[in-house]
Subunit: 363 residues, 2 copies
DNA sequence: CTGTTAGCGCATTCAT
DNA sequence: ATGAATGCGCTAACAG
């Protein structure tokens, strides 16, 4: 094994004490410039890299952030992780990765986390059932940030999007295209984002003066199969009752819907326009390509890291006005989404002149 | 912050020495059953979790495996990582993740790795330019395993596939379908796998007694654009010289080929049959769906972890016959691939009776 | 089988 | 501005 170069070696070679080397390492100011230079040079020559493990142990706080993620194969995850990794890279922190395969108990996972004792903070993607434990940990002082791609109410610092507004934009897009009977395939009620997207849908109908028909709201699971089921349900509807368009609460279900629709001889968008939600990689490649709300997954990752590190460095944030009692509501970073117009909504066929990837940020 | 429960606490509460607690922790056998029980109970009660950081420091070897990966958005990566994560989960090791964004210098990356001093081994996905450094590290005793999805000659322990045989199968599949003029879009020569796939292609032609036409071999970059370029090149060929089928060295290029072909009015598979290589998620969803060689990415991840840990635990492997001089060639785990038959090769339209996902393992 | 003694490599008091 | 001493939480020899 490579003989690890230690601070002691550097100290000896540079003719200073270990303490001084340590000071240089941590960029303390109270080191004579000349000495610092010399030490730095020796470190360079020796290829010295301080042991994070030891530093963490001795200093009481480590430079490792624990990242808890759902399986990588979940389509939204890679982009988020890319953002996380890239943000971390610019810091002197490292990532310890825990993948939370659905089956395991929250306790097991959390134990693995604490096990390290070297993870000084936690970044959790889609906490789901872990939330209670996270709250507990956070209340014990562990900095935690969640990316609630589809999460429960953020009692924790979080980064996410405004689901209500985004759903509103999606629905309004359909309304603007002239569709009047607009259905909605919603996600499971236990997901807050499913409710919010439903609310955005309702609100858009209301604002446009369109009647709300409960028969046009279908219950989904956020999974492909429920998209297929919805298409079947729609196809069996009497022609007069069929909607002209549908807003589907995530792309995964939209894929199922699209494929079943094709099999059923339902033409998209001619017979039925479709708008999804998420914009995962596949969305640009299914047939027809899917008009959808783009979630800024990459940016979510980046922002989450920044938030986490800011929590770590300055636990004393400037008090929010009106929170004079000392209670600070958890920080929430809300990122903008964007409507990506593709084939499935019919905009391209109906109005060729319209710009293809039109941002509805003027909403 | 939560007051960490230490071994000392447990020792006091259980009325034993710290050493004994440590022995229990590491499942040493020389502890009286009764004592062990008591210690375990106390640990349970106190919710004790040993600090990996301290353990690593003290024991000289840590329980962290460094995983070096290309950007997660590279389509083959998530599956591999899923395999890695799942395999790790069954152990008491943890993952420290380094994403190797192309731009950075190998030194920077390697420094980050050594920085920890807590990573006792390395798992590298697509080492690429890092290889020289890795060899150096390995020769210094650091256990390293690479997953050479498209890597250079494995002088390091590695897990991968047999590219030659797989390419042979792909080409032979086209030959069996009756195509005789078969083109090949190859990857860049600096990738060993590109050469091997080319060799497999050549061999299949030879074995089938088909003439080899150098004009039918195109140079690609493994990226989408070069697939498009190839389609254009093919389309400009005089009709008489056009191939009836093409074996493309990876799916990414095949996507480009498919989309350009569509734009050029070239029908796949009627005018030209296509077989790709990799079977990444998109491959089942492009139009037409892509017949391709499935690489077992998930299994590669799992196997790599197992190999790495075995290297870590028993550096003394049983000598390979014929290596009496003490030199051990690096271990290579070669996983089987599988031909996945979809639309683009024409098998489904030509021979409806054939099974859809026919494994050519009898090759 | 079990307790005692030393460190692992570093950060952090205290001194000076 | 720098050096010496102490300890983070744990494992690894040693002794019994």
């Amino acid at each position: 094994m490579k003989p690890k170069v230690t601070i002691e070696d550097i100290a000896r070679l540079a003719g200073v004490s270990k303490a001084t080397v340590s000071r240089v390492l941590n960029e303390r100011s109270n080191v004579k410039a000349e000495t610092r230079e010399r030490v730095l040079r020796v470190m360079q020559e020796q290829g010295f890299v301080p042991s994070l493990a030891a530093a963490g142990l001795a200093g009481g706080r480590s430079r490792l952030v624990g990242v808890l993620t759902p399986p990588f194969t979940q389509p939204t995850v890679p982009e988020i992780l890319r953002g996380v990794a890239e943000a971390i890279e610019h810091t002197d922190y490292e990532i310890v990765l825990y993948s939370t395969n659905a089956g395991q108990s929250p306790t097991t996972i959390v134990n693995r986390i604490l096990a390290l004792g070297l993870t000084s903070c936690l970044l959790v993607i889609q906490p789901g059932p872990l939330t209670p434990r996270l709250l507990q940990l956070a209340s014990q002082g562990l900095p935690v940030v969640v990316i609630d791609d589809q999460g429960p109410p953020p009692e924790l610092p979080s980064v996410g999007i405004d689901n209500r507004v985004s759903a509103y934009q999606a629905t309004m897009h359909l309304i603007r295209l002239g569709y009047r009977r607009i259905a909605h395939l919603q996600g499971p009620a236990e997901f807050r984002c499913a409710q919010e997207r439903y609310q955005g849908y309702r609100q858009a109908l209301d604002d446009a003066g369109l009647p709300f028909d409960p028969a046009l709201v279908f219950n989904g699971t956020f999974e492909t199969a429920s998209g297929r089921a919805c298409a079947v349900a729609l196809a069996t509807l009497p022609l007069a009752e069929r909607p002209e368009a549908i807003f589907i609460a995530n792309d995964q279900m939209a894929f199922g819907f699209l494929s079943a629709a094709e099999a059923l001889g339902l033409r998209i968008p001619q017979d039925l326009a479709v708008v999804g939600f998420d914009d995962i990689p596949l969305s640009a490649h299914v047939r027809p390509t899917l008009t959808t709300i783009k979630q800024p997954f990459y940016e979510m990752g980046r922002n989450a890291v920044e938030l986490l590190l800011s929590l770590l460095h300055g636990p004393a944030m400037q008090p929010v006005a009106g929170a004079e009692d000392g209670y600070q509501p958890p920080i929430r970073i809300q990122l903008p989404t964007r409507l990506v117009i593709r084939e499935s909504c019919g905009a391209l066929t109906l109005h060729r002149r319209q710009e293809q990837e039109h941002s509805l940020s003027d909403e």
